[in-house]
């Protein structure tokens, strides 16, 4: 089933998108944050310059004035300014209470007082206290000090958080859409494969000429179809070659069989054969006839496989055909101790002389096989208003009711029972095919007292 493929495709799609979204999101958030921070830094620098100037010039009053002016609402969270000396507490401060305590100390303080400048961020006690600070060196009344100015990063934090939230929801939504859409697309993509599979499933050995329709695109699916078709073609050729071989071999046997049969029959008829010599020739003749029947059955089979038995329809006398068939099995009957009797009036039907002889012959062969010694096999030609046919009756064990359809069954073409070519197993199936091609019927019922009666009927 393709579910794992569809699942895999969709899963990979989702994972890929998630990774991309994550990377993109991280990048955007980082840039945003740094841009926002940079903007705050620049505002802090300007503010610190103003405040430093005021402090250096006029001291505390100016410090407070300028601070109030340049800092965004000094009492607001996070904005403020303080002046620090190397040692000790805050000299002066304005703004958020946080600036009442020194915001830098130790080495950092020392470096600023010594002339350096630093920018840094600070997190306060509560989560909303996030400050950006700048510390610059100032000199007042000859004393070297550090001016620390702070601004809240609350606004920029808020902006970043909004982007983050939007991104998360949007990303989740996108992933969901991709999951559904991807699943649907995967299904659509695999529909041709499904169709191909079910089409291929229906192709069997009777159907080897069939092919899978090839899509126009030269893609993997088209390639699959072409490959399958190529394989079917190879199989078809293989099966045909096999069938042709059987037909060719059977056919080749006809000429030698004809020669042998003619020699033996002429000899039996015209030479003064006696005793053992006669018996030997008769025996050989019997076997030759039998071989002829096997070849005939095999070739009929090959023809049926190739897809069709053509009939040469002509006006045919069933009585005459029955007599011909009986004649060809007389020797076999004698050997089995069975008597063959042909009865009934001549009746003409439209049929294939050779094939009808083959059918009646197969029925007689079958009957001889099951008839007990010293019994008779009766071959009776009959007719009604719209049908005519032949009955072949034997006094053998009979056919159980459950098997009556099965014995005529067209065996699987794959059946290795081909090798039992001469056996009745082959013969009855061929009989049915031939009679049905004549638009007739063939069936079996119980004999009046014992045994079976095989009946064939064709339209009169």
């Amino acid at each position: 089933m393709s579910a794992p493929i569809r699942l895999r495709l969709t899963a990979w799609n989702v994972v890929l998108l998630a990774a991309v979204l994550l990377a993109l999101g991280a990048f955007v958030v980082t840039r945003l944050r740094s841009d926002l921070t940079a903007s705050v830094d620049s505002s802090l620098r300007a503010a610190s310059y103003q405040i430093a100037r005021g402090w250096e010039a006029e001291g505390t009053p100016d410090f407070i004035d300028v601070a109030h002016t340049v800092l965004p609402g000094p009492a607001r969270h996070g904005s403020g300014a303080q002046v620090l000396e190397r040692s000790g507490p805050v000299t002066v401060s304005v703004g958020d209470p946080i600036v009442e305590a020194p915001l830098i100390a130790g080495r950092r303080l020392a470096s600023v007082v010594g002339g350096g400048r630093i920018s840094f961020s600070l997190r306060g006690g509560s989560p909303s206290e996030h400050l950006r600070l700048i510390a610059v060196p100032v000199t007042h009344r000859g004393k070297r000090q550090a001016l620390v100015v702070a601004e809240s990063l609350a606004a920029s934090d808020h902006a970043v958080n909004r982007v983050l939230v939007l991104g998360l929801f949007g990303g989740a939504g996108a992933l969901g859409l991709i999951a559904l859409g991807g699943w649907w697309i995967a299904r659509r993509a695999l529909v041709p494969v499904e169709r191909m599979t079910s089409r291929a499933d229906r192709i069997g050995i009777e159907d080897l000429a069939a092919r899978i329709p090839e899509p126009r695109w030269r893609d993997e699916v088209g390639h699959l179809a072409r490959t399958l078709n190529a394989m079917l073609a190879r199989l078809e050729r293989g099966v045909q070659a096999r069938e042709r071989l059987i037909a060719d071999v059977s056919h080749e046997l006809r000429a030698p069989l004809a020669a042998i049969r003619s020699e033996l029959e002429v000899s039996l008829r015209h030479d003064a054969l006696e005793g053992d010599a006669r018996a030997a020739v008769m025996s050989a003749h019997e076997e030759t006839v039998r071989m002829g029947h096997i070849v005939e059955n095999l070739l009929t089979l090959a023809r049926l496989d190739e897809g069709g038995l053509e009939l040469l329809l002509a006006r045919v006398d069933l009585r005459h055909v029955a007599e011909e068939a009986a004649a060809s099995y007389r020797a076999a009957a004698n050997a089995a101790g069975v008597e063959l009797a042909v009865e009934g009036d001549p009746v003409t039907v439209r049929g294939d002389r050779e094939r009808l002889r083959q059918v009646i012959g197969n029925l007689i062969d079958n009957a001889i096989g099951f008839a007990p010694r010293r019994s008779a096999v009766k071959i009776v030609v009959w007719r009604t208003d719209d049908e005519a046919g032949v009955r072949v009756a034997d006094l053998g064990p009979g056919v159980p009711a459950t098997d009556r359809e099965r014995i005529f069954e067209r065996f699987e073409r794959r059946d290795l029972a081909r090798s039992r070519a001469g056996g009745a197993g082959l013969g009855l199936a061929i009989c049915r095919e031939i009679i049905e091609a004549h638009r007739g019927r063939i069936w079996v019922r119980d004999g009046d007292s014992a045994g079976s009666v095989f009946i064939l009927a064709v339209p009169a």
Partner: protein, 223 residues
């Protein structure tokens, strides 16, 4: 009675000759098409047994040639192929009967007797009625020397009418011989097809060919 056996299988030919001589026939053997024609042109045979698979000339061609030369002796074809086309090829070329190998020698004798009994009238393979020529083997129809295109069914119909040229043929007979015996249509289809034939074979030539006999059927007549 003098027989010609045309068969290249030496053993088969030999045994048939032996047997038939014992039956009282005088038998000549030929092993190739060329040899067969030579024999047939020099001697008069009462019947010919002809194998289709022979060297130097396909047996069916030999048959056609013999008929073409006005030799009408009974010909029995022997073939190893039992396909429909193979069986009728010989008949279409002018043979009288066929036997599929391997055959029963007794059957051969019986069939031979039967075709000899039927006699050897002129039985041309091309059916000619007036200016109409129907060649069943080649599946062609010509009128006044011009070829006419017919469908398979139309051909079968004109062939049957031509074989019974001059005789009235009933619709029922036509239905039985030209259409499949289980044809489920009405006898009207015969009239329809006769109409087609008339359109193709009478109108362009301006001369009648098939006459309707009221209450009886149709007859193919030279005008």
């Amino acid at each position: 009675m003098r027989l010609l056996i045309v068969e290249d299988d030496v053993k088969l030919a030999g045994s048939l000759a032996r047997g038939l001589r014992r039956e009282g026939y005088a038998v000549d053997l030929a092993a190739s098409g060329a040899d067969a024609l030579l024999h047939a042109r020099v001697y008069d045979y009462d019947a010919v047994i002809l194998d289709v698979m022979i060297p130097q000339g396909d047996g069916v061609e030999v048959c056609r040639t013999l008929r073409g030369e006005g030799r009408w002796m009974p010909i029995l074809i022997l073939t190893a192929r039992d396909g429909v086309a193979d069986r009728i090829r010989g008949l279409d070329a002018g043979a009288d009967d066929y036997l599929v190998k391997p055959f029963d020698y007794g059957e051969l004798i019986a069939r031979l007797r039967a075709i000899v009994r039927r006699g050897a009238p002129e039985r041309p393979t091309v059916l000619i009625v007036g200016d109409l020529e129907v060649d069943p083997a080649a599946h062609t129809v010509m009128r006044q020397g011009r070829s006419v295109e017919l469908t398979a069914r139309e051909f079968a119909l004109i062939e049957f009418l031509a074989r019974r040229g001059g005789e009235v043929v009933s619709r029922a007979e036509l239905l039985e011989h030209v259409w499949d015996q289980n044809f489920e249509g009405s006898t009207n289809v015969v009239d329809v097809y006769v109409g087609y034939l008339r359109r193709k074979l009478e109108e362009p030539f301006g001369r009648p060919l098939i006459r309707t006999v009221r209450g009886a059927g149709y007859v193919l007549e030279a005008a």
